[in-house]
Symmetry: C2
Subunit: 175 residues, 2 copies
């Protein structure tokens, strides 16, 4: 048996749920040429070497909204993904906080882009199951505090000198 | 600009923290030929097409301990990983529950394998930073309930017929 490491097997997609806490709205898009009338969080494939927090860049390019990373919310693993030439796919949804509010969306990628109330997104049929699920998660966070749903991120030094990695897990209360 | 999807960029490693709740001990190994005297959770690279819950298989092969999947605890993303030929690496640690207790470890991979108390693992210098961190997380879970640190897993149908994916996020209280 070979002990050589295997080849890369996964592509990583990231999406950003930009939540405006002042009014309970979240930024959503409808893709062109894909699932009809389905609201989704903006995002896309991360480029090689990019971090999960690349969601901030994806959201900016797709919607014109500037934002900052707050936490990791959910992870999906799927195999034989048609969009990945049969490879596996990890799809991560992050929680972002908006730094701007005027939408200028990419008309090449999106059909529509709006600030939609989380309550409406959690209840509409015009969305995907995973978006609906995360909308309910975010609604819970909005009402009870996001610390109940967040995975915090921390950057730590790797054992290989000069390198860093990002670690995501539940915040351990300092008490 | 090409709209073709990119190639796979990540390899996925999984490790299992098998926690015996009856005595607060966790299953740890020391690798052969790697970091000296560093306790780690057993694990390895997932084979193509395998799920994150492959941690159960990795733990069995490496330690002889049978276990069942309970939750996802942490995710690390690292780029230019030396063991991945410069590709990126996602390393996931799961919480497992033991179904057997007698260790029969793989002498080709491991130098040592023991049930170690979580309190000791959280405080020893003979471990890696990420293992130490997750030991503290698990200690908190052992004392206050694992629901405070767990990401639950659920299998959902994909939009492509006949396929399923695994979704991990914080449990939403049903209340």
């Amino acid at each position: 048996e070979s002990k050589l490491p295997g080849f890369a097997t996964h592509q990583i997609g990231v999406a950003g749920a930009v939540v405006d806490e002042s009014n309970g709205k979240v930024l959503v898009v409808q893709d062109k040429n894909k699932t009809k009338n389905a609201w989704k969080f903006p995002g896309g494939l991360s480029d090689p070497g990019e971090n999960i927090v690349t969601a901030v860049r994806e959201v900016l390019e797709e919607t014109g909204i500037r934002s900052e990373f707050r936490s990791l919310l959910s992870i999906r693993q799927q195999h034989n993904h048609p969009g990945a030439f049969g490879m596996s796919d990890i799809y991560v949804i992050c929680r972002l906080r908006p730094l701007s509010y005027d939408i200028h969306f990419c008309t090449r990628e999106c059909e529509r882009c709006e600030w939609l109330s989380l309550a409406e997104l959690a209840r509409t049929a015009d969305t995907t199951p995973i978006t609906s699920r995360v909308a309910r998660l975010l609604l819970h966070g909005l009402e009870r505090g996001f610390e109940s749903i967040d995975l915090a991120m921390e950057e730590l030094p790797a054992v290989y000198s000069g390198m860093f990695y990002q670690l995501y897990h539940r915040q351990i209360p300092s008490s």
